[in-house]
Each structure stands twice: as structure tokens, then as C-alpha cells.
């Protein structure tokens, strides 16, 4: 009797583990990542190509979570001729610019109210300005916020952001204060 109970218990446990594994596998298959959203929506073909060229697809498919400020095709089109060509020829440099658009953690717009800046995966800060007038990151305007993925959130921006060097801030401050 005891043996039967033990066998049942063991069988139950095995079933549970198998079920859990199946469940997890199903979840993995149906998990919609940041990359999936970019691939399956119009207007991100340049970003998808760049992320793929920089071998960042796998990283952005990992559990994260990440907050991605995703420039749309129009944002890339605003860059002067040659900029993208040079970056695509030089993958580490391209990856640096792209990782500047990614922040560790999942931050929806409501989480960022009152937050002045975030530190990107590249290491430099992204300045935020959220007001009734809109949601801006550096000089980019967020044109679609809070697109949720299973491994993070996407904010679509209209301009490719470039890292602001440390000397930029005292220059701006001096301009505000005056001579």
C-alpha cells in the first residue's frame, strides 16, 4: 500500500514536472519579445536590420526586462547621408549607438513621471522630459509610448538619439544663466 502511494506520488510529481515543462515551453513559444514586436510592425525595418547587423537580436529576446526607445524608419531617414553606411561598416560602433537606446528594467511612461534621466546600457544618460505637452527623451519625441512586450516595453521615438557628452550640460546651463 505504502509502495503504491509512493509510486502514485512519484508519478504525480513526474506529471507535474512534465506539465510545467510543457507549459514553460508553450510560454516560450508564445512569448512576444521586443524584437518580435519590431519585426511584426511596419515602420521599424531599419531598426530591425541594424539590430540584426549588430547581433543584438538574441540579447533583446532574452527575458530582460528592457525599456527600448525605438527609432522608427522616419527617424533613421532624418540622419544625413553616410551616417548609417559608416555605422553598418563598423559593427561595434553601431552596437554602441543602438545600446544607447536600451535601458535595463521595464519603465512605462507612468513610472518615469518626475524622473530626470535614465542610464542606458551603453553607459551614458538619457534625459527625460515628461509633461502635459508630451514625452521626450533627449531631443527625441516619443510618438507611441508603452508598447508592452513580454520582456519589456517599447517607446517609439521620432529621432535617433546620440549620446550627450558631459560638456553639453555646462554649456546649456551657461546659456540659461547668461554671460
Amino acid at each position: 500500500m505504502k509502495w503504491i502511494r509512493l509510486r502514485e506520488l512519484a508519478w504525480f510529481k513526474i506529471k507535474t514536472i512534465v506539465n510545467y515543462a510543457n507549459y514553460a515551453q508553450t510560454q516560450e513559444i508564445t512569448m512576444t519579445t521586443i524584437v518580435d514586436i519590431a519585426v511584426n510592425n511596419e515602420g521599424f525595418s531599419t531598426l530591425v536590420t541594424a539590430v540584426s547587423a549588430a547581433s543584438l537580436v538574441e540579447a533583446l529576446q532574452s527575458p530582460g526586462p528592457f525599456t527600448v526607445f525605438a527609432p522608427n524608419d522616419a527617424a533613421f531617414a532624418k540622419l544625413p547621408p553616410g551616417t548609417i553606411t559608416t555605422l553598418v561598416q563598423n559593427i561595434p560602433q553601431l552596437a554602441r549607438i543602438l545600446t544607447y537606446h536600451v535601458v535595463a528594467g521595464k519603465y512605462k511612461k507612468e513610472d518615469l513621471i518626475g524622473v530626470k534621466s535614465l542610464i542606458s546600457l551603453e553607459g551614458s544618460q538619457i534625459d527625460l522630459d515628461i509633461s502635459e505637452e508630451g514625452f521626450e527623451a533627449n531631443n527625441a519625441t516619443v510618438i507611441a509610448a508603452d508598447i508592452e512586450a513580454d520582456n519589456g516595453v517599447i517607446h517609439v521615438i521620432d529621432t535617433v538619439m546620440l549620446m550627450r557628452p558631459h560638456w553639453f550640460y555646462p554649456i546649456m546651463e551657461s546659456g540659461k544663466v547668461g554671460v
Binding site: 544625413p80 533627449n138 553639453f168 546659456g175
Partner: protein, 438 residues
């Protein structure tokens, strides 16, 4: 203070800045330099005259960084081997990564001719040209490198990387390989590792400047060709050409590698992701155009009497503040550079200088002032590129954005208005507004 009054073109009220006209000009997409045909002619002529020696500078800087490296007695570092004269510029020629100049990728023909005959116009052995100082003055290039190296901390990730453990290990491998057969130098390295490491950092900065100028030379050549064809209608066109160039090439890798007995050692690998814009261009402009260091010449600086700033951020001895009196130095004012440019002036500038001041007798000063004008234009291009990269378009409909642009422009020009250490009096921005400043 300025030659012409420039009305504001934005929705904002007029600026109250001491250089309000210049602010309004920048807001209209212009340069700090007034848009006159004379200014356009001077700056383009000087770009061409600068590009030829620059074609030597970048090649020799890379040669020094990659081959001479830590040679304790580098007596022949200015004797550029054929391999580096034939080195293909990545931004000229048919196989360019991005073709700025339609000319050839190898050393410029005017440079080769000068190297063979010199100012003496005689073919004698290279050593005699060198000893007679009848050559390209690499001392200027090295002075620029030292300015960048000494100031450091001007943005970019290279600065902290040069202090990292990874850099130390890369440098250590290269230093040990370089002195493999030299027990005395290896012994000295064991005794004074920091000294060798610092020399290695200097070599890295030499490579950075070489890679920076590798791009500027073909850009300036192309600008000269476009001007000769009548392609630029004014100073803003010339500035915008530079702005486009800055963006096109912003992502070019900055690296340092050393060739030791045929094997390449990576000291700053390309894989670090360092870029031309952040790790070379911005630091260069800050170190060379604004800061550099006090120079010997027409004025003595007494550091104990606080005539030299304690804070390196306040250094203001760059070309934008320079008294163009020729003092014969490699530092600012770079008489040695002026001497180099003198050999490659386009004829229209030679004829122009003959009409003013003491004609041919003070061409060196007149071209120095033209060079100052041309560098105010390059600085304007960098300021406009920074505005485009970090802020907003000039025709942005949002007044908040336009105000941010104005703060940025005014903040930049405030650097020329600071009474500390009489920076405001030293700055030449007011003088270049006047065509009679020669």
C-alpha cells in the same frame, strides 16, 4: 561689434547676448564667420593649404603610433617610409569606405613634390632637407596630440579606458613584445612601469589624431575642388558641407594598434566601439581650438600671479584666442603650421595677400588670420553638428525647442565673453567679424 546686423529668424524675441548678431546668424543656419565672398575665399584657400601638410601629418602620426611606438631615440620618426606614403586613405580614391574626395587615396602630388625638393627647390638627400628644417613641420602635429593628451577628460569613453586594467594588459603585452630583445629597456620597464604606460597612452593619442586627420584632409581637398568649380555660394554652404561630413563619418572606429616584427598588437581594439565623433573630433576641437597651453612668445605668463588658470577647463590658448604674431613655435599661434601652409597656398590667396598690409613680407601673418577665420568656421560646423545631434532642427515649430537651441548657442558663445583671465579680450570672435582684421 559685428559687421552687419542680423535680424532674428526664429519665433523667439531677439537675443540680448553681447554677440547677439552671431547668435541670430547661427539660428539662421549660418556660421560664426560673416557670410562674405572674401571670407569664403580665405577659408577655402586655407583649407586647401592645410590639407596638403595634413596629408603628411596623419600618415606620419599613424607611422609613429604603429611602428615607431616606444622607440627611445626616435630620431627618424619624421622620415616617412614609402609604405605610409602609399597607405590608402579610407575616404578618398576608388576603394574608399566613404568617398569624400574624388582624388587619389595615396599621398597628394603637391606633398610628394615638396618632400622631394623642399622650399630650396633642390633635390638633395632627405636628411639635409630635414636638418635645414626644409620639410613638413611635424612638431605642430605632435603639439596638437600633446594638447589632447594633456587635457584629456573632454568627453568620450577612451579617457576612462586608458586607465582601465584591460588597457594596461594590452599595453603590457605590446611593451614586452616591443622590447623582447632589449634587456635594458625591459629592466627599466620593470622598474618604472607607469612611465612606459604613459608613453603608450601618448602613442594611443598619436593614433587618435592620425585617424582624425585622415578624414579631414580629403574633406578639405574636396571643399577646395567644389569651390574651384563654383559650388559654394557662401560661408554657410561651406559650413554645412563640414556638418554633413561630421555626421557621415561620426561612427568611424578609433583604435590603436602596433606592428611589432610583423605582428599587430591591439592596444585599443576596434571592438571597443570608440568613434571618430566622440573619441576624436569633440576632444580635438576642445583641446586644440579652445584650450591648448600657454605659449612662449609675445606674452609671458606668471602662474604664481594666477595668470595661468588653475582649472584646465579655463585654459584659453587655442587658435580661437590666438594673437597671430608669428613666434616661431609649434604651439599656438602655430607658426610652424603657417609655414607649412605657406608652401601650398592657392594662387588666388597669394595674389590677395599681396594687396594688403606689407604684401609678401607678412603673408605668414595674413594667412594666420585667414586660418583663424577658417577655424571659426570649422568650430561653427562642430557647434551646429552638436546642435543637430543633441538638440533640435533650426525650423522646429516648438518654441521650447527653439529656446533650448538658443541656450546652447549662447552657452557656446559665453566662452568668448568670460572676463576671467581676460578670456573675453583674448577671444578673436569680435575681430573676425571685421574684414579689415588681417
Amino acid at each position: 561689434m559685428t559687421a552687419t546686423l542680423v535680424p532674428p529668424t526664429t519665433q523667439l524675441p531677439p537675443s540680448n547676448h553681447p554677440y547677439a548678431d552671431v547668435i541670430h546668424r547661427l539660428e539662421a543656419g549660418g556660421s560664426m564667420l560673416p557670410d562674405t565672398p572674401e571670407n569664403l575665399m580665405q577659408i577655402i584657400g586655407l583649407y586647401k593649404a592645410y590639407a596638403v601638410p595634413m596629408d603628411f601629418y596623419w600618415r606620419d602620426l599613424l607611422y609613429i603610433a604603429e611602428q615607431v611606438f616606444l622607440e627611445p631615440l626616435p630620431a627618424f620618426k619624421y622620415f616617412l617610409p614609402q609604405e605610409y606614403l602609399d597607405l590608402r586613405n579610407h575616404y578618398a580614391g576608388d576603394d574608399a569606405d566613404w568617398r569624400f574626395w574624388r582624388g587619389e587615396a595615396t599621398a597628394h602630388p603637391e606633398l610628394l613634390e615638396f618632400m622631394s625638393k623642399g622650399e630650396l627647390n633642390t633635390k638633395i638627400p632627405k636628411l639635409f632637407h630635414h636638418l635645414y628644417h626644409d620639410r613638413i613641420n611635424m612638431e605642430f602635429a605632435e603639439e596638437c596630440m600633446r594638447a589632447m593628451f594633456w587635457h584629456r577628460n573632454m568627453g568620450g569613453e577612451l579617457e576612462p579606458y586608458m586607465d582601465s586594467e584591460e588597457y594596461r594588459q594590452n599595453a603590457d603585452r605590446a611593451i614586452r613584445a616591443y622590447f623582447k630583445n632589449n634587456p635594458i629597456m625591459l629592466g627599466l620597464y620593470k622598474l618604472f612601469p607607469e612611465l612606459f604606460l604613459e608613453q603608450c597612452r601618448q602613442s594611443t593619442m598619436t593614433s587618435v589624431l592620425g585617424l582624425f586627420w585622415e578624414i579631414m584632409a580629403p574633406v578639405f581637398f574636396e571643399m577646395s575642388d567644389v569651390y574651384d568649380e563654383g559650388g559654394f555660394k557662401g560661408v554657410p554652404d561651406a559650413m554645412n558641407f563640414l556638418v554633413s561630413g561630421i555626421f557621415a563619418i561620426a561612427g568611424r572606429p578609433i583604435y590603436h594598434r602596433v606592428n611589432i616584427r610583423g605582428e599587430w598588437f591591439e592596444i585599443v581594439p576596434k571592438s571597443k566601439g570608440f568613434t571618430w565623433l566622440y573619441e576624436a573630433a569633440f576632444p580635438y576641437v576642445e583641446a586644440v581650438f579652445y584650450r591648448t597651453s600657454p605659449f612662449r612668445g609675445t606674452k609671458s605668463y606668471n602662474a604664481q600671479a594666477n595668470e595661468v588658470p588653475k582649472d584646465q577647463n579655463d585654459f584659453h590658448y587655442g587658435i580661437l584666442y590666438a594673437d597671430k604674431f608669428p613666434v616661431g613655435s609649434a604651439g599656438i599661434p602655430p607658426t610652424l603650421l603657417h609655414q607649412d601652409m605657406y608652401h601650398f597656398l592657392p594662387q588666388y590667396l597669394v595674389d590677395y595677400y599681396k594687396q594688403f598690409c606689407r604684401g609678401e613680407d607678412d603673408t605668414l601673418i595674413q594667412l594666420g588670420v585667414s586660418f583663424q577665420r577658417s577655424m571659426y568656421n570649422v568650430t561653427s560646423a562642430v557647434i551646429q553638428a552638436g546642435r543637430a545631434a543633441f538638440l533640435y532642427p533650426l525650423d522646429d515649430p516648438n518654441p521650447k525647442h527653439l529656446l533650448a537651441n538658443r541656450h546652447y548657442f549662447e552657452g557656446q558663445l559665453n566662452r568668448f565673453c568670460n572676463p576671467k583671465y581676460e578670456m573675453d579680450k583674448a577671444a578673436r570672435i569680435g575681430m573676425v567679424q571685421d574684414q579689415n582684421y588681417r
